[in-house]
Amino acid sequence: MRAGIIVYPGTSGAELVSLVLEKDYGVSTEIIWHEDKITEDFDLLILPGGASFGNYIRPGAIAAHSPISESIIEHAKKGKLIMGITNGFQILTELKLLPGAFLPNKNGKFISKNVQFINVNNATPFTCALNPGEVLTLPIAHHYGEYYLSAEESAALVMNQGVIFNSVETGNIVAVTNKEHNVFGIMAHPDRATDPLLGNVDGRKIFDSILKSRGDK
């Protein structure tokens, strides 16, 4: 399995995602600059967290107009896997690969804490290693975390079984997929919850799922 990890100015999660995939899962990775084209046929693309372009205009707005976007959209159309972690999720909505948009957190603050996520759909490549209704504790770290969907988008998302995780505390949607379930966005950091030294390995379930879905585990 080969994974491409995309880096924009401001992206901060690429090295960690690469380390997790390479060291823990034996997946070979390549870090790709946003101005480059993707020439290789990767199995998985990851858009990591970190405020790309300083979140100017809106989170993800400038990144979505990077030269690499064409390759990302092409990869999605082929049915291959894409995971967007926090800012990566925001970029995927700006690319229209996932529905909705993001507003600042209701309390106006940057929130960094552990949050319980309840799984709503485990029949996706990103959640197939989870039991139905399984709860994961994952770290969140964002200022623009209020996921907004119009009534139409919300209805379509529910119909397509694209709601993947809800927050246990608020009931809000915190992770979704597209209709085909090959593009996944999550407002949390599974990559930061993969090592017992960090006191939490719940994030491994997401990476376990990806490998399981590929028949690699």
């Binding site: 205009i57 707005a61 107009h65 948009a101 507003l103 957190n105 106006g108 209020e146 907004y148 988008e153």
Partner: protein, 83 residues
């Protein structure tokens, strides 16, 4: 010709605006009880070269639709003047 296009961006009705909510509460506390609601937005000033006013507005409109405004949550209005 040089133009300045002002872009007024507001949150769509129904989109939550905690900053606007806090501002509303704040002016109520100052006694402005006739205030119904304050909504936050932003204003951009685009200085650009264009053949005429129509072209300046057309270009600004395009920029808003392509990147400056999120149609899912925001509305915008343009105001153009020659500078």
């Amino acid at each position: 010709m040089k133009f300045q296009v002002k872009v007024f961006i507001s949150l769509k009705e129904g989109v939550s605006d905690s900053e606007g909510h806090a501002a509303t509460e704040a002016v109520w506390k100052l006694g402005y009880s006739t205030v119904e609601k304050i909504r936050y937005g932003k204003m951009l000033q685009i200085k650009l070269e264009a053949a005429n006013r129509e072209e300046a507005l057309k270009l600004a409109q395009e920029m808003c639709q392509k990147i400056l405004v999120s149609p899912a949550i925001e509305d915008f209005e343009l105001q153009c003047s020659e500078v």
